[in-house]
């Protein structure tokens, strides 16, 4: 103990403490972070082949099987349709970089043409939902009020009231929907990527889907109004409480310190 006391004032002590704190934080994070969280990173995977099947054999077949029949590492793609390919590849979720609880959104690897070729190839494996036409997901054509009701019934339990995203079990999550291209929102509902359940047209009609997109457009884009001011992330009472405990009470305590402090004296005693 004596030795420790003596060294506490060493100039490097603060640095050592800082390093310990960082290591502890990192360790804690490693312990709490879900296993195998993939890091988004621009992959240099360069694909030279242009035709869908060739692209597929190079980029996808390892996990999904040479005929799209699926392996232990990836589900079957027979019947998933072009919409699923477009969603997964055009948002960068596929190809998967490393196994983890969930494939995160990443920079897109393929060009638009290549994605179209891949989608055409997978669509040929079995009938499945096609890539929606633009008018199907036009937010202007939907009714945001009906969409809001449907959103709260089907979506908000995972994605939060306005689609800020939310946590699922064991490190899986429902992603943030802010400013996501309506096409991908539509395709996600249609195909049910990863943990998300599907909402086929028999369950959620195309008009229903368009209404949901209209709601998201009304409340969760960069240009959507937030009349009350700063949104604090849209997470509800937790972020509001944090704000009250930091800025709110902080400003008032600063005022209290000013009121309680002695006024500067003419000469220092």
């Amino acid at each position: 103990m004596k030795k420790l006391s003596a060294r506490r004032r060493h100039p490097l002590a603060a640095l050592v403490v800082l390093l310990f704190a960082l290591a502890a934080t990192g360790g804690l994070y490693a312990a709490l972070a879900p296993a195998g969280e993939a890091q988004a990173d621009a992959s240099e995977t360069s694909i030279a082949v242009e035709e869908g099947k060739k692209l597929y054999l190079v980029g996808c077949a390892t996990c999904h099987g040479s005929e799209g029949q699926g392996t232990s590492d990836g589900p079957s793609l027979v019947g998933v349709g072009a919409a699923a390919v477009d969603f997964q590849v055009a948002t960068g979720r596929m190809p998967l970089q490393q196994p983890g609880p969930q494939a995160p959104e990443k920079p897109v690897v393929y060009t638009e043409d290549q994605i179209a070729q891949l989608a055409a190839y997978v669509a040929s494996l079995g009938p499945g939902p096609a890539i929606p036409a633009e008018e199907e997901y036009d937010p202007q054509a939907g009714d945001p009020a009906v969409g809001g009701e449907l959103f709260r019934l089907n979506c908000s339990q995972c994605h939060n009231f306005t689609g800020q995203g939310g946590a699922l079990t064991d490190g899986k999550y429902a992603p943030d929907l802010t400013d996501v291209d309506p096409r991908f929102v539509y395709e996600a509902m249609l195909t049910g990527p990863q943990a998300m359940p599907a909402f086929p047209d028999t369950v959620l009609s195309p008009e229903n889907k368009r209404d949901i997109i209209a709601w998201l457009d009304a409340v969760n884009t960069e240009k959507a109004p937030n009349p009350g001011g700063f949104q604090l992330g849209g997470y509800g009472p937790v972020s509001e409480g944090l704000f009250a405990w930091t800025f709110g009470i902080g400003a008032l305590i600063a005022a209290a310190v000013w009121i309680g402090a002695h006024t500067a004296k003419a000469k220092k005693s």
Binding site: R152, N160, F161, G236, A255
Partner: protein, 547 residues
């Protein structure tokens, strides 16, 4: 300036000035001169930490004022209506009148949104201020005799504030409110034996029914604010009666209070602070959204949103529930005990009651029956400080658990891992924090002792003739020395010898033994560093002028 003029006019007309005549009139009926003689020049000590309670008081006032305004527009009814107000993304939706009127306040009443946001921000800050004010009182021992009752009043205010907040949160009937009410319903149903009856009576039938919001409205705007107001007045009367505590310092003793007179200095300072609190909360309300009910949507029992939390002050009870494993037992094959709710709902009040009754526990341990008016420095009472910090750490873990989904999504963590971390942390962390805090307190006491004996480090390095470098220490002025040595260091209770002077065995009850042990925990050698004595000081200062 004006007084001089007044005097002149008085002299001219031979009549007292109007103000004085009014005061005379009032005195004849209310005795204002007597009251003013008692109160006008009352001394209030200057310290920022004594203003924390004022933040609570002033935010309470602004919440009352804005609340009255909101009742002019709010319709506490659960009747379903179709919305046709000016917020487009809700057009034609079925919703309760309570929710619709909240949308109207936000979008159709000019300034209504501002008042709503002031009301809600004010409420959050009100409870924050109560909380840190309570911590100040706790850690400085300002709850000791004669202030134990006022501590209880304050604590009751805290609990009433929680429930006022809870009922207010429920009123707009948005998806979050409704989820909160559903939680309450579940909690009531979990109550053994009488749960279903209480639920039916409170809700006027099955959940959600049509009565709960009107009933909560009355509780929120009449019953609880009435109680709060009455207790706030009692709290303030006792403060005036006891006179404020102050920190040890030159001329500040247990038999006086040193500060500035209420009139005019504290009237200006407290009055000014009222407006500052109002102003800061209004500025926040004008720039930061709180509870945007229009995006949260109207409540329907089959819908829900993730990130469903209560306001922060109930976050720790929420966390206690989230940490709980799913235990449920069926008694005699017929009766269900939902322990997944009952245990956390028992721990929640227990944690509060432990803190609420702490002053009585401490006075029992210390057998101290004297009046105390000097606020202590937390380091000088390491065991109490450590206990308080341990309590806070348990509270904090529960608070973290209450937001587990928000942390999980924002920091890419697994919600299950966070929950497990909190489950373990809730038991382990307070123990670690207890011992760590005590050690830190002792370290600070040691530093105080060094400062008294050896003076302040000046940062000036001097080279002695033989080449040694030393830092010049400047002796503390007498006022500082006094401040750092003014606290008392009681010795622990000692049990009387096992046999008395006549050789007869003395009976010592187990409670008495426990008290002696606890007392050692508070005042034993490991719990305080002996402060510098005059002899030590003289020896060091007389021997070698400097060192």
């Amino acid at each position: 300036m004006s007084t001089a003029t007044d005097e002149r006019t008085t002299a001219r007309r031979g009549k007292a000035p109007a103000g004085e005549r009014l005061a005379d009139w009032a005195d004849g009926r209310l005795g204002v001169y007597g009251a003013a003689k008692y109160g006008m020049r009352k001394v209030f000590p200057d310290h920022w930490s004594f203003l924390l309670g004022e933040i609570a008081l002033f935010s309470f006032i602004i919440v009352l004022l804005t609340g009255v305004y909101l009742t002019l527009f709010f319709v506490p009814s659960m009747a379903q209506v179709e919305y046709h107000g000016s917020y487009v993304p809700m057009q034609g939706q079925l919703m309760s009148e309570a929710y619709a009127s909240t949308l109207d306040i936000s979008f159709d009443v000019r300034g209504g949104l501002l008042v709503r946001q002031i009301h809600h921000w004010g409420a959050l800050i009100f409870v924050v201020a109560i909380f840190i004010h309570m911590m100040r009182v706790f850690f400085t021992g300002a709850f000791r005799k004669p202030r134990e009752i006022n501590w209880l009043f304050g604590f009751t205010l805290f609990i009433l504030a929680l429930f006022t907040g809870l009922t207010g949160y429920s009123l707009p009937d948005d998806l979050l409110s409704g989820t909160g009410i559903r939680f309450m319903e579940g909690a009531i149903l979990a109550t053994p034996v009488v749960g279903t009856w209480i639920q039916m009576l409170l809700f006027g039938g099955e959940f959600p029914g049509h009565d709960i919001i009107p009933r909560f409205f009355v509780i929120h705007v009449l019953l609880l604010p009435g109680l709060l107001l009455a207790l706030v007045v009692a709290h303030l009367i006792l403060i005036v009666f006891h006179k404020h505590t102050h920190y040890a310092g030159p001329g500040k003793t247990n038999t006086n209070v040193v500060g500035m007179p209420f009139f005019p200095v504290y009237m200006a300072k407290a009055g000014g602070f009222t407006f500052i609190v109002f102003g800061v909360i209004t500025l926040i309300a004008g720039t930061v959204t709180i509870n945007p009910v229009w995006t949260i949507g109207p409540y329907r029992p089959e819908t829900v949103s993730t990130n469903a939390q209560p306001d922060w002050y109930l976050g720790f009870s929420e966390g206690l529930v989230r940490m709980m494993p799913g235990w449920e037992i069926v008694l005699f094959g017929d009766y269900t005990l939902n322990l997944g709710l009952l245990i956390p709902l028992g721990v929640f009040p227990a944690m509060l009651v432990v803190l609420m009754l702490y002053p009585f526990f401490e006075s029992w341990v210390t057998k101290d029956t004297r009046e105390h008016h000097i606020a202590q420095r937390p380091r000088n009472v390491p065991t109490r400080t450590a206990f308080g910090m341990a309590w806070l750490s348990a509270y904090f873990v529960a608070l973290v658990a209450g937001g587990n989904d928000v942390w999980a999504i924002n920091f890419n963590l697994s919600i299950n891992a966070i929950t497990w971390f909190c489950r373990i942390g809730f038991f382990v962390l307070p123990v670690l924090v207890f011992f760590l805090t005590r050690r830190i307190c002792l370290g600070l006491q040691r530093r105080d002792r060094d400062k008294v004996l050896h003076g302040r480090e000046t940062g000036i390095i001097k080279r002695l003739p033989h080449g040694e470098f030393i830092e010049v220490h400047e002796p503390l002025p007498p006022a500082e020395r006094y401040k750092l040595t003014a606290h008392e260091q009681p010795r622990p209770l000692s049990l009387p010898p096992a046999v008395d002077e006549n050789g007869v065995e003395r009976k010592v009850g187990p409670l008495e033994k426990l008290r002696a042990r606890l007392s050692r925990g508070y005042y034993g050698e490991q719990a305080q560093i002996p402060k510098a004595t005059a002899e030590e000081y003289r020896e060091i200062t007389s021997g070698h002028g400097h060192h």
